[in-house]
Symmetry: C2
Subunit: 397 residues, 2 copies
Amino acid sequence: MALIVQKFGGSSVANKEKVFNVAKIITDTYNAGNSVIAVVSAQGDTTDDLIAAAHAINEKPSKREMDVLMSAGEQMSASLMAMAIEKLGCPVVSLLGWQAGFQTSSAYSLARIKSIDTGRMTRELDQNRIIIVAGFQGICKYGDVTTFGRGGSDTTADAIAAAMHADRCQIFTDVEGVFTADPRKVKNAQKLEEITYDEMLELATLGAAVLNNRSVEMAKKYNVELEVLSSLNPVPGTIVKEKIKMEKMLVRGVTKDADTTRISIVGVPDVPGVAFRIFDKLAAKNINVDIILQSYGHNGQQDITFTVARSNADAVLELLNNDYDKVVVDNAVAKISIVGAGMETHPGTASKMFEALYGVDVNILMIATSEIKISVLIDEKDADKAVSAVHAAFFAE
Amino acid sequence: MALIVQKFGGSSVANKEKVFNVAKIITDTYNAGNSVIAVVSAQGDTTDDLIAAAHAINEKPSKREMDVLMSAGEQMSASLMAMAIEKLGCPVVSLLGWQAGFQTSSAYSLARIKSIDTGRMTRELDQNRIIIVAGFQGICKYGDVTTFGRGGSDTTADAIAAAMHADRCQIFTDVEGVFTADPRKVKNAQKLEEITYDEMLELATLGAAVLNNRSVEMAKKYNVELEVLSSLNPVPGTIVKEKIKMEKMLVRGVTKDADTTRISIVGVPDVPGVAFRIFDKLAAKNINVDIILQSYGHNGQQDITFTVARSNADAVLELLNNDYDKVVVDNAVAKISIVGAGMETHPGTASKMFEALYGVDVNILMIATSEIKISVLIDEKDADKAVSAVHAAFFAE
């Protein structure tokens, strides 16, 4: 008998039919002889509706009260799921964050899990009950309700899998797993059987939003084996774990991130400390900088170019416009990346990618590399074409 | 500085405007130099909506899970009220039942309060914060969420007032107080300044549903002074307490209860134990019997007539039809009552009531009296006429 943790997002439980679809997955797992702890998010648009209700009353409510309000969404969803499982004839109990033992920091709305008191969950499993846990919530040392931010239900599931030493943590989504590229956009995109945590982290960061990044970090930290799979199509998904069996496939996926903006500061003095002053200023405002390119100086001047998330572009301009004469912003860019743990030992990977881009006449604006990733910044209009060409180069039929 | 507990029902917080109306009442009380603990119910139809959502999934959900679901209604309402008070610029904190220290029995959906750990509330008041408590909920010894049943928010408010030794407990409703008769039906119905717990209990039982009966019982037990008043019209309401100043008014109110059915068992043997067998059977099914009338026996036979709530009529018939030849049911009846603590020492009260009924040609079917109440059963069609006549007899302009 295995202990399986399952997580179902808001769209998987959005209405009565979907609730029963999920209840069936849970009870099938249970009836096959497993112990099951299932984590659910708020149903469908509930979270957005609650935010709208709050903002109608107070456009800047305290985060403490927002957490009380938001956590009700998962509370309702968890109790309704338990009722559906009762209806299917299995013993079940729903647990809220504080009942499941989630102790967190007191950073309301973005709380971090500090520890999980597993006593109650263990007792319920001993009673042979299915446990439904309301996702994304806990309590802090002040006895207040806290939430983990969007995507926090993944974190809840990971943390339970780690604390309860689960055999597997299944993250159910609306896709069948992790693909080598977005299957809606790229012909021949292939589902991966396995992927490493690090590869998954890069893919998540790069916009393949299958898994919440924080939850992958947590899974990696506690070595929890994740499976990404579909709640609508019951076929094996993609396993995310530390080490995977070697395959000839060096590159695991090709991704596009259009949520990026290129900012250039033109003609700054070519003296020590310039880059520090710029990026320290951005860091102080919690603005993440992605690719950085510093031009080769000449005539005592140089250009500094970097990318940020598009939502940060205005804030960056505001911060820098007073200090520098010429700050150029370009929103019409996209970042194309290939990710794969094997590529660091295969120097030909980068040139293969560049060749593919050249083959479809795509100009490269910036390049950034890491041990398991190569990213290029290109014109946004070329993005889909570029992804297809790069994908075709690495994933021949 | 006084400690005031205030309770606002679901209709008082049904939308944004009403939430701010209530927030204003709370902050006005606070800004006048008082400590305030406000108890809120779920907004408007939330409770009904949650019940419907549950029943769509499972027509017989466990009471445990229903309590998890239902308590979310008050949770959302409490956090939204706190946000409104933040908007009005006062320090505030919302507390759920378990945070406010409500320890209850584990009778899910009808839990009884066992104790209140006032530590958290005391600390919050020491911080000079307004406290918003989510009504009608607590936790039992198993660490499960429990609810108190409909009207439970009144009980929450009473219990807080008792445990925190509040100076007053204000129950805000959609009426301005307790009236001598239903002001929508009876001309010259007068608002009472004061009323005793016992009188209020009789009035509540008799269908003047201003206050929840259980909460009046609790207020009486802990000698909490209640005030019933309107959240829409800020005028003094009716004070409910143990002893009130003597007035010439012996009768405090006239009420009508149309939710009653008369059941007659005709021709039962006139031997010992007959009544016991009938009413023991009903008691075993938790059916409350109100007025009982046993006819004078002749020829070894007698009739037994009694009234029950109309919703119980079918169950009573089912229980008795097999045992007795002739069971007659009459739904077209209503119970008219006068209530007043002074009447027991004034023997003329009953005859004055009967005279008023005779004056408008109303036939009396049954009579029941207690120390502070006289009830008569009459034809339902005569009910409004009877209330007006009796009210006029006791409350001359």
